[in-house]
Symmetry: C4
Subunit: 190 residues, 4 copies
């Protein structure tokens, strides 16, 4: 089966998700700096979610470059991943409107965790139809970052009830882990 | 005529539909688990509709792989199908905001029924311009699933007035019918 | 210059436009047939606008199939057309929320008129960089439908102040004029 | 690395941004010309932002035509640019709802400035992986328009506090600077 339309469809879904998050940023009614500054939790969480969606798009791009074939199971594994990413706008809005209260901050981590768990499921299906000696299987052998992310999200969720800021620091940490070395690895690979 | 842009346009429309449904999920104002749990009908129907749109995208992908040519009639038959799918966010929101009340649950089935009826119309137009001995015509010879879906939707609509949960069970059943064997068929086909 | 990305971008914009119109359909709060039926102007105008956007997408597809090159002027002429189409959701919502009152119904015609006027401007730019003996120039020689549409829209706008339903009949008429013969012409062409 | 998916993803994001701005245009409740005319700041700023997004899409299209390779850094530089463009709907809505008050008008310029600064960053990354003697490096040698835009935005922000209309005139001026000569350059290039 052809991977082109799956890539195009995923690009479309991710492009819509990354863009509609801005619709959740309700415009302040007063035309003042003070009114704008009250939106700081909205802006911070918009940036964080934008970076996360960007990371998923980048990784999706890289993963699909390493495979040649897809099948029906891979399509559903891909839709499953997109499902959790599609909840980012919802949890971002809930977390920011409540100024990083405990429950919404934990739920944000919960959705990040589910997306992180959906990722190896998709990888497994892609390996299953592209062979164990393919480029993806090799790349996944060293998926330390994926496992670390899952551990950090799982830690962040209970810690959000202790202090939501600890959870937020963990979310930013995971984003940096993916953002920084990916650029280095890329540089080597080019 | 070239099918590439029709596929790309359909991918775009379906990607937007599957994603904007999340905009209908209004964020709860209180930052509590209780407030979140009150949204259960919204989440359940979001998942159901996400799966339905996913099924339509998968089937659309498969159907267009079997054809080579399209014409103006096929384009309109495709837009007709997209029209009914574009109503999914509306009926999903109405059904879930009213906690699966009878009329909205029946209307949800009505839109599913119309989309299910639009499907063979599209198939017929595609067969008409690709020939009766093509891959699509062969595949449609055994369209038992399509006919079963139409019967189950037609049953679900009046049953929703008796008890909306019977209708919901039927909607989930049809989704499973499409979801499960498609994966098997795929596995064989690969 | 390459027309591929312009087609892809236009497909994206038109796909978003045709889909977000459904977001303007506010879900009725009561779960009753009566509440749903009150939405009839919303549904009617959604269908009309969906068909109009579908017609523009079909014609856009056909027009760009006949050309090989584009330039910067054609890109802006294309964006100009997309600008007027992007106003369809706005005028559709205004017209339907006010049950086809005179001013909104006239404005709906005004936007249709502007889009209809943007069309030959785009065609002219495309002919300018593809040559007067190209397929597009030949096809446009008999652009009676385009001229008729412009006349009917220009008539509908003042008539909306007499009786908005006359304007609506004219809008439906133009849609049928494009919808019906296009299918026939297509059939001949295949 | 392949630039195709990055182009497709950027097209998708820009198509959604240019289209969802129309969702920020709240439909007036009264069906009168007076109610419509009250929306003039909304329409004016919608047109301005539509033209700006159109300029960015055109320039993005041109820039990526001159390059062959991309890497991870270029992907993030591209996402950084898209981030600032994604804020256009927000600042457009805030500025127009407040009838071009000082702070929102200055912020509008601030976001334009950040997008204008993101542009050479993206160009630098693209040059870094495509070579200093490539077409892009040559084209950027004469990036007087980019530098002029940055200066005008930086002037407009403080001037908005003196009189917001001065800032608006500068924003329109920059848009014209990009709009007009691009068409001429294009004509020569064809």
């Amino acid at each position: 089966m052809d991977k082109g339309r799956l890539e195009a469809f995923s690009d479309g879904v991710i492009a819509v998700i990354i863009t509609i998050m801005v619709l959740e940023m309700k415009v302040p009614h007063a035309p003042t700096l003070a009114a704008l500054c009250e939106l700081w939790p909205v802006f911070l969480s918009y940036i964080l979610s934008f970076v996360y969606v960007g990371i998923y798009w980048n990784n999706h791009h890289h993963m699909f470059k390493t495979v040649e074939r897809i099948n029906g199971r891979a399509m559903w594994a891909n839709l499953h991943l997109l499902f959790w990413i599609s909840l980012f706008p919802f949890v971002t809005a809930w977390m920011s409107e409540n100024h990083f209260a405990a429950v919404p901050t934990a739920l944000y981590g919960g959705v990040l965790l589910m997306a992180a768990l959906a990722w190896p499921l998709l990888a497994r299906e892609l390996i299953a139809c592209n062979g164990l000696d393919g480029a993806l299987a090799t790349a996944l052998g060293r998926d330390a970052k994926g496992k670390l992310s899952i551990v950090l999200y799982a830690l962040a969720i209970p810690l959000a009830f202790l202090n939501p800021w600890i959870a937020c620091v963990l979310y930013v940490t995971v984003a940096l882990v993916w953002f920084v070395p990916d650029r280095r690895m890329e540089k080597v690979a080019t």
